[in-house]
C-alpha cells in the first residue's frame, strides 16, 4: 500500500501531520474533511488527494481562493515528495513515505569493494580540488552554453537543498536523482560518515531512469578512501572491463567502467562522498551519439554539487539537533507538570485515607465518610487529568451524532452542582428552549464545557456572592451553536488572556493542570469552532464556545 503524509508547516494546525493512504483525502474548512484546516481563507471543501496507479494526485475542488503547489496555481497536479501545497494561508508539506523505503535499500544495493578486491580495477585518471573553478575555463560559444547548463544544474540543486524535507534520506535522494539526470550518469550513491562511529555508510542510491539492472552497485573503497584522505574529486576508469579494450566481453554485469567520486566537504568536516558511474558500454553509447564517459567539467560540477549536498546535510543535522533539544525540553516540562499534578492528587488520596483510617480505628462512621469523599474527589481529578491528556494527545475526528445540546450542558451543570455547593458558588443554568436536536460530538462538548465550568467555579470561589451562569443558544446570522459560561470572579489580567489556551499555562497555581482550556479549545476546533473570552479584571469573565451548526436533514434549529 502506498502511503504519504501531509505536515502543516504554516497555519493554525502547524506541526500537525495527516496520513494519506489509499482512500481519497479531502482538505478544507468543513468538519467532514479528513484534513481539517482552521483557516478562513480555505473553502469548506477546498482540495483533495487521490492515489491512482501509485501516483498521488492533487485536485482543486472549485475553491474560492485556489490551490497552489510550490507557489504556482494548480487545478490538478501530480504530487512528488517535498511539494508544498498552499490552501489559503495554510501550507502543507507533502512527503511520500515510500521514498524512505526506497532509500532504506541503499545499504543492500551498494557493494563496497574492499581494498585489494580483485574486482576493483579502478584507476584515477584525473582529479580536482575543492577550490577548482567551475567550468568552462576557455570561453567559446559551446562553453557559454555549457556554463548556462551548469549554472542551471547548480540552481536546481540549490533549490532542492532549500526545499523543506522530513528526512535526510529524502533530501539526499532528491539531490542524487537530480545529479544523475544532469550529469548523465547511470547510477550514483551517497556515502556518509556516521558521526558517532566514523563508519562510512551508504545513505542513498539512484539509477538513471530506465536502467534497472537490479545488480548491486560496486563502489571502490580504495577510491573512497583516497577522496577522504585528499579531499579531492576524482575521475576513474576501469580499463580492463572496458569493452573498448575487450571487444568480446560486456561490461561485466553492472561492473564499473567509468566513475567519479567527490568529497562532501561541510563547513568544518568531511561529511561523506558522492559516487557516480557509467556502466553502459562505450560502443553502445557511441552508437547513440552520446559521449562515452565523464568529462572534466562534469567532475568540477560534481565537486560543486558535493559541497552543496554537504552543507545540506550539515544544516539538516543542526536542525535535527535543535528539534531534539526542544523535544527533550518539552518532554521534561510535560513529565514535571504531570508528576506535579499526580503528586497533588496522591496528597489528597493520602488525606482521605488518613481520615478513613482514623474513622475505622475510632468506629467513627462520619469520619470514614469524610475520608471517602476526599478519596472520591481525587479519583475524579485523576480521571479528568487522564481524559484531558488523552484528548490532547490524540489527533481525532469528533464523533458526530444527533444530540440535544441543552441536555449535554445540563449534565455538566448537574455534575458540577455539588462542587459548586462546596465552594458556596451559585451555579445557574439558562438553556435556550428553542434549541433543537443538532449534530455534534456530545462527549467532546461535554468535556469542553466541563473544563470551562470547573475553571469558572475555581475562579469565583471566595468572591463576594459568587455566581457562575451557563447558557446555550444559536446565533442565526452566523448559524453558530454556542455555550456561554460567565462568572463574577476576579477576571483575567489582559496580558494573560492570550496565554490561557496554551498547554500547561494555568492561572490556578497548584490547582490547575494547564490542560483544561487547551483541551476545550482543541475540541471546539475539531468542531470547526472556537472559544473566545471576554474578561475585565475585578468584574469577571465570559467564555463563549461556538461552532458551526451541521445540517441535519431531519431536524432544524428553531
Amino acid at each position: 500500500m502506498k502511503r504519504a503524509s501531509l505536515l502543516v508547516v504554516q497555519g493554525a494546525e502547524q506541526g500537525t501531520r495527516f496520513d494519506v493512504a489509499d482512500a481519497p483525502v479531502f482538505m478544507g474548512r468543513g468538519v467532514s474533511n479528513e484534513v481539517r484546516l482552521h483557516d478562513t481563507e480555505v473553502s469548506r471543501v477546498h482540495a483533495s488527494i487521490q492515489i491512482k496507479d501509485g501516483v498521488f494526485s492533487l485536485n482543486d475542488r472549485n475553491s474560492s481562493n485556489g490551490t497552489f503547489v510550490n507557489g504556482k496555481p494548480v487545478t490538478t497536479h501530480t504530487l512528488i515528495d517535498g511539494d508544498q501545497i498552499q490552501l489559503g494561508r495554510t501550507v502543507l508539506l507533502f512527503s511520500d513515505v515510500n521514498q524512505d523505503s526506497r532509500t532504506g535499500l541503499a545499504a543492500e544495493r551498494i557493494q563496497l569493494l574492499q581494498r585489494h578486491d580483485p574486482a576493483d580495477r579502478s584507476s584515477i585518471i584525473s582529479r580536482v580540488g575543492q577550490d577548482a573553478p567551475l567550468p568552462p575555463v576557455v570561453p567559446s560559444v559551446e562553453d557559454d552554453s555549457q556554463t548556462l547548463s551548469n549554472l542551471a544544474v547548480l540552481y536546481r540543486i540549490t533549490e532542492e537543498v532549500a526545499r523543506p524535507t522530513v528526512s535526510m534520506d529524502q533530501l539526499l535522494q532528491r539531490i542524487l536523482d537530480l545529479t544523475i539526470e544532469s550529469i548523465g550518469a547511470d547510477r550514483g550513491c551517497v556515502l556518509l560518515t556516521d558521526p558517532q562511529t566514523g563508519e562510512i555508510t551508504p545513505q542513498a542510491i539512484s539509477e538513471h531512469r530506465g536502467l534497472d539492472t537490479g545488480a548491486r552497485m560496486p563502489v571502490s573503497r580504495t577510491i573512497v578512501d583516497y577522496v577522504f584522505k585528499t579531499n579531492q574529486g576524482v575521475r576513474t576508469a576501469d580499463a580492463q572491463h572496458d569493452s573498448r579494450f575487450d571487444g568480446g566481453r560486456s561490461i561485466v554485469q553492472a561492473g564499473i567502467r567509468e566513475a567519479m567520486c567527490v568529497p562532501m566537504q561541510g563547513r568544518h568536516e568531511l561529511m561523506g562522498v558522492i559516487y557516480v558511474d557509467i556502466t553502459t558500454p562505450a560502443d553502445r553509447l557511441l552508437a547513440t551519439g552520446k559521449v562515452a564517459g565523464f568529462r572534466e567539467d562534469q567532475l568540477r560540477m560534481l565537486v560543486a554539487i558535493g559541497r552543496q549536498a554537504a552543507l545540506a546535510v550539515e544544516n539538516y543535522r543542526y536542525q535535527q539537533a535543535i528539534v531534539k533539544a526542544e523535544r527533550l525540553a518539552a518532554m521534561g516540562q510535560t513529565i514535571a507538570t504531570i508528576s506535579h499534578h499526580i503528586k497533588n492528587i496522591l496528597q489528597g488520596i493520602r488525606g482521605g485515607s488518613y481520615l478513613i483510617d482514623m474513622g475505622l480505628n475510632d468506629h467513627n462512621e462520619d469520619l470514614v465518610r469524610k475520608g471517602w469523599h476526599v478519596v472520591e474527589k481525587n479519583q475524579t481529578r485523576i480521571y479528568n487529568l487522564v481524559m484531558d491528556m488523552l484528548t490532547f494527545s490524540k489527533e481525532r475526528q469528533p464523533a458526530h451524532e444527533r444530540a440535544n445540546l441543552n441536555e449535554t450542558v445540563a449534565d455538566v451543570v448537574e455534575l458540577m452542582q455539588s462542587r459548586a455547593g462546596e465552594c458556596a458558588v451559585d451555579l445557574q443554568y439558562r438553556p435556550n428552549p428553542s434549541l433543537a436536536v443538532c449534530i455534534f460530538d456530545s462527549e467532546g462538548i461535554h468535556r469542553a464545557v466541563l473544563n470551562i465550568v470547573t475553571n469558572a467555579i475555581d475562579a469565583v470561589e471566595g468572591a463576594e456572592s459568587p455566581i457562575v451562569l451557563v447558557e446555550t443558544g444559536h446565533q442565526v446570522e452566523t448559524d453558530m451553536i454556542w455555550v456561554a459560561v460567565s462568572d463574577n470572579g476576579p477576571g483575567i489580567p489582559e496580558n494573560q488572556v492570550s496565554k490561557i489556551f496554551q498547554v500547561f499555562e494555568s492561572t490556578k497555581g497548584a490547582r490547575g493542570t494547564g490542560l483544561g482550556l487547551a483541551v476545550s479549545q482543541k475540541i471546539l476546533r475539531e468542531h470547526g469552532g472556537e472559544i473566545t473570552v471576554e474578561s475585565r479584571p475585578g468584574e469577571g469573565s465570559r467564555f463563549m464556545l461556538a461552532w458551526p451548526r451541521i445540517e441535519d436533514e431531519g431536524q432544524t434549529v428553531a
Binding site: Q347, G351, G352, Y354, M358, K370, G462, G509, A510
Partner: protein, 114 residues
C-alpha cells in the same frame, strides 16, 4: 490544646483543610481556608495561631520576607525553602498526614490562643 485556637490553611486544594477540620475541630480548634496568602484588605494580617501554607500554590509567597503572616507556619511544598525559622516546620510533598497533624499540634501547644 487550647479551645478557640485557630489554624488557617492557605492555597492549594481544599483537601488539606478538609482533613485538618475533621481532625482539629472535634478538639475545639477552628480550621479555616484562604485561597491566597494576601489578606484583604492588603494591610491586614492573619490572626491564626498556626498557618499551613502550600508553597506550590502560592508561588509569589516569599517565606523569608513576607511580613503579612506573623503566626507559626507549616510550609508544605515540593522545594525546600532556603531558611526555616525555629517556629516553622517544612513538609515535602507528598507528605504523610500524621506528620502534618503532629507539626500543627507542636506549634499550637507552643502558642497560647490569641
Amino acid at each position: 490544646m487550647n479551645v478557640s485556637q485557630r489554624v488557617l490553611v492557605i492555597g492549594g486544594v481544599s483537601d488539606t483543610a478538609t482533613v485538618l477540620q475533621a481532625v482539629f475541630e472535634p478538639r475545639g480548634a477552628t480550621v479555616e481556608r484562604s485561597r491566597t496568602h494576601r489578606p484583604a484588605p492588603a494591610n491586614a494580617r492573619f490572626s491564626s495561631e498556626v498557618i499551613v501554607i502550600d508553597l506550590d500554590a502560592e508561588q509569589d509567597f516569599e517565606p523569608e520576607t513576607d511580613c503579612s503572616i506573623v503566626s507559626s507556619r507549616v510550609l508544605i511544598g515540593s522545594d525546600t525553602p532556603k531558611r526555616i525559622a525555629p517556629d516553622e516546620r517544612f513538609l515535602s510533598k507528598p507528605f504523610q498526614y500524621p506528620e502534618l497533624v503532629k507539626a500543627i499540634e507542636e506549634l499550637l501547644s507552643a502558642r497560647p490562643a490569641a
